[in-house]
């Protein structure tokens, strides 16, 4: 895989602003491929241990049972300038526990939900997660096998996302295609921010 640069050419300032975009979707849909297609570093992996609390079925005891699960994220970096760094985090596809990772969504600029038309249902959970937390997102339909099985409108209908949420076809193995999806996300965020600011100004 080709990366933009193998080593960091711009040394970030300690007071740089770091931003993050989340990449979500089902297992094997191409999240890490997307990250790698635009990252200046080979995607790195980080892990967190999450504790699931579940109350025992036998309520008389009132004992809380805890279970620790390790959840991994693959991520990449785009150093935009010495004062602005963008991180792309690919959420784990198979593991339901990442939904408990509150820090993931907190402060996220936005998200890309990557959809595979053969398994559309696998991205419902991610869509629900971002809608609930008001994280702006776009849907990228990854056509990695070269064949386009459905139109954008058909996918939009099947996923039942709001009409203002951009849905676009992509091939995340290609940097230009990933850039298009990121561009659509940024424009979507800017339009939402613009609406929010105009609404605030009207009040």
């Amino acid at each position: 895989m080709e990366f933009v640069s193998s080593d960091r050419t711009i040394r970030p300032a300690i007071n740089a602003t770091a931003l993050k975009i989340l990449i979500a979707g089902g297992f094997g849909v191409g999240k890490t491929t997307l990250v790698g297609s635009v990252s200046e570093i080979e995607p790195l992996r980080t892990e967190e241990q999450l504790t699931e609390r579940s109350t025992g079925v036998d309520d008389i005891t009132g004992v809380e049972q805890k279970r620790t699960t390790t959840v991994a994220l693959d991520f990449g970096r785009i150093t935009i300038s010495h004062e602005l760094i963008l991180y792309l985090f690919g959420t784990p596809g198979q593991d339901r526990f990442w939904f408990m990772w509150d820090e993931l969504a907190q402060g996220a600029l936005g998200a890309i939900v990557l959809a595979d038309t053969r398994r559309l249902a696998s991205c419902f959970a991610a869509i629900d997660f971002f809608e609930e937390r008001n994280v702006p997102f776009v849907v990228g339909v990854n056509c990695f096998d070269g064949s386009q099985m459905y139109t954008v409108d058909e996918v939009r209908g099947a996923l039942d996302v709001d009409p203002f949420v951009p849905v676009l076809l992509c091939d995340v193995r290609r940097r230009e295609s990933t850039k298009d999806v990121l561009t659509a996300l940024l424009q979507h965020i800017m339009s939402l921010t613009g609406h929010a600011q105009r609404a605030a100004a009207d009040n």
């Binding site: 040394r11 740089a16 770091a18 931003l19 993050k20 620790t68 785009i78 907190q106 996220a108 561009t183």
Partner: protein
């Protein structure tokens, strides 16, 4: 390993190497203003043996400003463990940090969003 059912130890045994050994069992003393994209940088050099091995591993990773997620990946430790160790290093003035993370994307200025958009287009 194919699954927990095939493991010879039971679930209570937990992972064979407990990552929180590095933090002497502490899990909740990390500063709450550290997150995965908080940038950290080492303030000063250290002599071998001045700190314990885990802290030195962390310090070696942040000679240049770097996110906590990258430190965790570089040191091959879970994020939570790295935050605890970095909290120690911040307290002892080995490391400084900057957290500019907005609570929500709407707090990011239009100017910053435009710079991100321009940066992506230039890739």
């Amino acid at each position: 390993m194919t699954g927990e059912d095939s493991a010879w130890f039971d679930e209570d045994a937990g992972p064979l190497a407990r990552p929180y050994t590095f933090t002497r069992g502490r899990t909740h003393v990390a500063r709450d203003d550290l997150n995965m994209i908080t940038l950290v940088v080492a303030l000063r050099r250290f002599h071998r043996g001045e700190l314990d091995h885990a802290h030195e591993r962390i310090l070696e990773c942040c000679q240049d400003p770097i996110s906590i997620a990258e430190v965790a990946a570089g040191a091959d430790l879970p994020l939570g463990v790295v935050k605890v160790l970095l909290s120690d290093l911040i307290e002892q003035n080995y490391v400084i940090f900057r957290t500019g993370l907005a609570k929500h994307s709407s707090a990011t200025s239009p100017d910053t969003l435009q710079k991100v958009l321009d940066g992506i287009r230039e890739l």
